[in-house]
Each structure stands twice: as structure tokens, then as C-alpha cells.
Symmetry: C2
Subunit: 434 residues, 2 copies
């Protein structure tokens, strides 16, 4: 067996054996398979895909390349939620405390933002003092004590994924269903879950712009998780426009607190409750979808989710005072207004354009080495369906300084589409794969 | 512009600009583009191919990455012949002296064998004293003096091709039409030709097993050469069974001498004359195909080609005495007989099986570092169409020792197919692209 023959077989569309996939993945980790061979293999996989058996084997091998978290000290059903990433996607900050308040245990391993989508860790770290770098034993302890914890992936979990992802990121081989499935599930399986809810974003602001591609991913995630013994549900949700009104780290924490207080944009609230209901149902804490939804809504409306969020912040070293006083969160030096270039109704707000503008301001990273600015971002003042006149304010740009704010005004303005007919504003949930 | 974006565009099937191809190819040569990015790019090119404009640009960039040979001191039409490689393909040794005898100047840059197909340099170097490592000025001098010279590619010619080929060879990205076209033509264009005849082999013993693939290659070679101002003709020739009867370096020199003396297998003679006729025609030394063919045949039959061959060997330091006394060529220590496993007519001799057996004996290289044995190889005693009885000798294995000979007897035997009906033996020439 050698790397050349395995690349050739993948290139020719043949199904690889478990041993061949092991040779490639573990060989890449230990240096027997060279990075230029792995990148050719990844590109061949991009084109030829992988069978369910190959995807299962790939995931299992990546999982087996590292350690497993010991969650035996955490009692109760452990369910996590994973999003494929979107613009303004702060749902983890709301969903986790909601379900924890109902009794679900949420050991959430999360990532940092790269490109135009934000990362949950970056958002959390905008809270003064907040830490996300706990070791596995402390992570389990936090989940047991608070009901939830959100920490960064430790290098000991699925190191093959870490190394492969770094290579995919520089060789244009990220957008490949079996590789995404392996990457997501290997990490989730390492954290000892009982069930998993996947939020597969689709649309211009998402990783998967095309609904067919998103369907393939959602379906492959659910099928592969099932083959590996992890019950999973995937929800396809709309990411054509930014989720909620805030895009940027501290801005999104502020909006999450609003939603946990019972306010905030309806799309964030509704989507959070849909995801929370699914997690409660999969945790076995409700007899049906209706009961699960009611439990989630009650936890949110009765302020119990907000209490969990407060304890969660304190337990991870953060200043929970930001809940009462959101102005204690980092604030941008300059705020500039984006005005409407047309009359009528806002018919679209392009998530990708807004996400790239926010990244340009420093809210996200273009390379892994960049440092994010917690304070900056974009605030949508006139979401889809708002009636506006030319020159009215449709968005606010939060930037380090006036010059930086001015530099993205035009770009943010270009994200808005206007029309004379009031658009129908649909829900975010598109389809369910289970 | 960056490598990631270029790989992504190629992956998505978009047409790259000249500047983007320059960035990739020259960046790879100077280290700005990393090998793992180039290999992902090569694999994406394997799947998505390249447009004619891209293939032309790629070839031009590879050509421009190195020096050009100064052939201004060589008077007369300069025409080369290039084969994509086959089993028993010794045609260069016959065709070059035939056309040189008619007045064509042949500056032939050649390669070494890798895999199951032999290399012309390896064959030549089985002649005692023969050298192929001349510098450009001496190469031009040899062509001017003798009418032909066959030397190895200098590292100064198309270095981008050299570096890309080394990577393709270990990442399963060799069999890709635009990459093959760029590789072949960049080197040929560097040697100042007036015209080029391409021998595209097709069948089990060739690089291109499939006729559709071979047609695409032949057509792309001719089109791209034309765009670059080099008149070219490609002949598709059959490589299902070994060409001639000898496979192995000294064995093939011996067979070439036989053909130059007017004997030898008819397929070698006929195919050589077809290629030579094309070269003479493209050199402008004949008014039509018939006259060109007659000139080639006369040069061969009147012994003038043999005279050129003798001068060529002497000029490159070799012992031209091998022409009178072929036993002065290296001879194998052991010769073993392969006997027929069936009765009737030989209906097929699988070129790939014979080529791999010869390589296993040491006639070819499995890796670039292996040293070839000039003496070993396989001699076909009963070519297609021969009537044989079970147990009769159908081939001879020339090996270092008896054990090595015995080790491949079964394999060589398995190359032969038998049937009760006498097979039609067609010519080797299948199609012409011009």
C-alpha cells in the first residue's frame, strides 16, 4: 500500500478500504504521507466524493487519531448543537442556556471565526474576563455544575482533523461533503454526546450557498452520525440575510442577552427555540415536539435560561455584570450611518456582503493569525420588510475610528435591496433531516 | 492574486488568465507557491481540464521558465519526432537516421524510461561508450555535423516542467491532457524546431490505454503546437502488443540495427517509414506523402540511414562496431524459454504484461533512482498470427541469472492469448491528426 496508489484509486472513483483511508489519514499525521500527496487526495475527494462507508471510516479514523473526553461525571442527557456557520449566528449563546435550563447537559466544543462567518469563542471572549481554554477535566466539571460549558477544541481531540483542516484551508478543499462530515463528527464524537442537533446554514452568507449542496451535507451528517451510533438531526436554515440585527462579537453578545431577556429580533428568538426544542426532544426530556417547544419557550420566558447564562459566564471567569449593564461590553470608537439608496421596502440584505464588511472592520479573521476586535461590526437598523425613504438610516457601522467606518459605508449600503412591494418574510427553518 | 484563489477558480471550472497561470507555475518554481498547493491545482486540472488558451499559456510559461537552445548554426529544416512511450518502442533509433539521410536535421531531446515503457537514452547507452549528456553548443554542433543527435534534456530547458513533472509523478496527476501537452511541447519548443511529428501510442502498453483519451491528447498537441507557431502532426499508433520482437535496451538496439540493415520485424520497419515520411514532408523535402515515403524507403534500403546511424554512434562516443558485430552489445547471463500454454494461433501479446516483466528484470525503472540493466529483457519469438502448438517456445527471457529468468516466465507466458482462428494483423497506424 502506498499514497500514490491510494490517490490514484480515489481519482478513478474507486471505493477505498478502511486500511487505505487509515494509511492516508494516520500517515499524514505521522509524516509518512506528505502534505502534497494529502492535498492531491483531498482535491480528488472533492471531485469524486466518498461513499457512506468511506465517510464513516474517515470519521472513525479521525476520531481515533486523538483522545476521547471523559464525561462520565456528567449526569443527564448530553446533547450538543453545531452550526456550519453564518453571518450574525449567535444562536449557541441562546440555545445552550435554554436547553440547560430544561435539564439537557451541553458540552459544547466550539471554534473561532474564519472568513466572513463569526466564531462562538470570539463572541464569548468579548465579555471581560471570559475564558474558553479549559482542560478536559475542568470542562466536564463545568458541564456538571452549570449544565453547559463552551470551550475551544483541545489539540488532543481528533488531531488528524486539525492537521487536515489546516491543509484544506490553503488548498481550496474545504467545501467537500465527506471531509466536512468527518471534520464535524470526529470532534463531536470525541466529546461523549448522547445526541447532536446540526444547524446547516444555506444561502449567500453560509458556507453552502446552494440548497442542493446543503441538503447533501445535512443528509450525509445524519446518515454518518447514525452509522457511528450518534443520533443526530439536521435542520436546514436560511442564511441569505444576517441572522438578527447584529454582526460583530460584542454586538452579538448584546443581542443574545436581549433575546434571553425576552426581547430581541424575532428570527433569532424563533430559530433558537426551534433548535432548543429539537435538542430537548433528542435528550428524551419531552414526549413530543410540541412539549419540547413549550419547555424551551418557558425556560426562555421565565428567565431561567438567562440565569443559566449568568452562571455560565461567571463559571468561565467572565463578568456576568454585562447582563445588567451591556454597556460594559467593549464599544467601538466610531459609529457611522449607512443610509438608504432607494425608496420603498427593504427586500434583501446580503449576508455575505455584510459579513465581509464586518470582517474588514476587524470583527473576523482573514487568516488564522489575525486578532479580532471585539467591539466592531455592523448593526442592521432596517431589516427585510422595513419601509424606508431614500436617505434614511438602514444600518450602523461600528468601527475603530471614523476613517475605518467611512471605508465600509458603501459596501454595507450595497448589501441592501429595495422594492415597491412589501416582501414576505418567511421563517428561517427550511427543512429537517432526521 | 494568490494560490488559494487560483486553485479555487480552477476547481470551479473557470478559465484562468495568463497572469494566474504565471503566478502558479513561476511561483512554484521560485517557492512562493507551495508544493501542496501545486498538487491540489494539478488534481483540479486533472478533473476540469484546460481550455486551448490555458493550455497554450501553460506551455508558453513553462517554455519561458528556462533557456532556449541556439540552433542558428544548424542549416536545413529541423524536425523532431516525439513518442508518448510504448513497449518495445525503438523507433527513434531508426527514424532519426532515415530522415537525416534525406536531409532533415534532427535535434532530438530524449528521456529515460520510467515505469513499463523504455527510454531512448537508456537504449542508446547500452552501446559501449555512447554518451547522451552533451551541452547545448555541442548538441547543435552534432546536429550540424551528423544531421542528427540524441541527448538528454538539460536542466536549463523548461525547469518548470521538470519540477512539475516530479510532483505529478508522486501525486497521480500524470495522465492529464493539458499537463502532458505543456510538458512535451515546452521542451520541444525550446529546441528551435521547424516542425514536429508526434507518435501518440494507444493501447494496453501505452500511457493512454483508451482511444478517446489518446485522440484528445493528439488533437490537443497539434492544436497547441499550432497556436505556438510550431507545425505539428500527430499519429495515433497501436500499442496493444509490443512493437517488434525485442523489449529491453541492448535487445532493442540490436533489432534497430537489423531494421536499418533492411531486415527486422515488418511492424517496426513500416511504422518507422510512416513516421519518417511525415517528417520529410513537414521538412518540405518532398512535394507529397508519396514522394516523402519513397525518399524514406530509399534511404533505408540503400543503406544510407545505416551510414548516418554509424556516424551518429561514433560522434557521440559510442562503438560503431556494434553495427557489424551486434554481439559486442551487452548480453544477459541467462536465457530461458517461455512455452505456449495453448494450441493454435497467437491472437494477442499483452504489451503491458511484457513491459512490466521486462521492468521487473531490470530493463526499466520503477523509481527514478534505479539503475537499468542494458542486457536484460524479453524477446518475442511467436508474434501475433504465429501458429504454435502447446509447449513450443513463444518467447525468450534474457535475465541476469537463471533464478531471475525463472521468476518471470509465468508472467511473460500469461501475456500470450491463443485462438483457433488466424487473426488479422493490421498496421500500427490508426489515425492522423494534423
Amino acid at each position: 500500500m502506498n499514497a500514490y496508489e491510494i490517490i490514484l484509486r480515489k481519482r478513478e472513483g474507486e471505493e477505498l478500504t478502511v486500511e487505505e483511508l487509515e494509511y492516508m489519514v494516520l500517515g499524514f499525521v505521522d509524516g509518512r504521507v506528505l502534505d502534497y500527496q494529502m492535498s492531491a487526495f483531498l482535491m480528488a475527494t472533492f471531485f469524486n466524493g466518498a461513499t457512506d462507508a468511506e465517510t464513516e471510516a474517515l470519521t472513525r479514523i479521525m476520531l481515533g487519531s486523538g483522545e476521547l473526553l471523559d464525561m462520565s461525571g456528567v449526569h443527564g442527557p448530553k446533547v450538543d448543537k453545531h452550526s456550519t456557520g453564518g453571518v450574525g449566528d449567535k444562536l449557541s449563546l441562546i440555545v445552550a442556556p435554554v436547553v440547560a435550563a430544561v435539564g439537557v447537559r451541553v458540552p459544547m466544543l466550539s471554534g473561532r471565526g474564519l472568513g466572513h462567518t463569526g466564531g462562538t469563542l470570539d463572541k464569548l471572549e468579548s465579555i471581560p474576563g471570559m475564558r474558553t481554554d479549559f482542560k478536559p477535566a475542568k470542562f466536564a466539571q463545568l458541564v456538571a455544575d452549570v449544565g453547559m460549558a463552551i470551550v475551544g477544541q483541545s489539540p488532543q481531540l481528533a488531531p488528524a482533523d486539525r492537521k487536515m483542516y489546516a491543509l484544506r484551508d490553503v488548498t481550496a478543499t474545504v467545501e467537500c461533503v465527506p471531509l466536512i462530515v468527518g471534520s464535524i463528527l470526529s470532534k463531536k464524537l470525541a466529546s461523549g454526546l448522547d445526541a447532536l442537533v446540526l444547524d446547516v446554514k444555506v444561502g449567500r452568507g453560509a458556507f453552502m450557498g446552494d440548497i442542493e449542496q446543503a441538503r447533501r451535507l445535512a443528509s450525509a451528517l445524519v446518515r454518518t452520525a447514525g452509522r457511528l451510533g450518534l443520533p443526530a438531526t439536521a435542520l436546514l436554515t436560511d442564511m441569505a440575510s444576517p441572522l438578527g440585527r447584529m454582526v460583530g462579537n460584542a454586538l452579538e453578545v448584546r443581542e443574545s442577552i436581549e433575546v434571553l431577556k425576552g426581547d430581541g429580533p424575532s428570527d433569532v428568538r424563533e430559530t433558537s427555540l426551534v433548535l432548543a426544542g429539537r435538542m430537548i426532544l433528542m435528550a428524551g426530556l419531552a414526549a413530543g415536539a410540541e412539549e419540547a417547544g413549550a419547555l424551551a419557550t418557558a425556560a426562555l420566558d421565565e428567565g431561567r435560561a438567562l440565569e443559566v447564562f449568568s452562571r455560565f459566564i461567571s463559571a468561565q471567569g467572565g463578568d456576568a455584570g454585562v447582563i445588567e449593564n451591556p454597556d460594559a461590553l467593549p464599544r467601538a470608537g466610531a459609529v457611522a450611518e449607512v443610509t438608504a439608496s432607494g425608496d420603498g421596502f427593504v427586500t434583501g440584505v446580503d449576508a455575505l456582503t455584510v459579513g465581509l464588511a464586518a470582517t474588514g472592520l476587524g470583527a473576523g479573521r482573514r487568516t488564522v493569525d489575525e486578532v479580532v476586535d471585539p467591539a466592531v461590526g455592523v448593526e442592521i437598523v432596517a431589516p427585510i420588510g422595513t419601509a424606508v425613504g431614500r436617505g434614511e438610516v438602514v444600518a450602523l457601522v461600528h468601527a475603530r475610528g471614523t476613517d475605518e467606518a467611512q471605508s465600509v459605508l458603501e459596501r454595507v449600503g450595497s448589501a441592501f435591496d429595495y422594492g415597491s412591494d412589501e416582501p414576505a418574510v418567511g421563517g428561517r427553518l427550511l427543512e429537517v433531516f432526521e
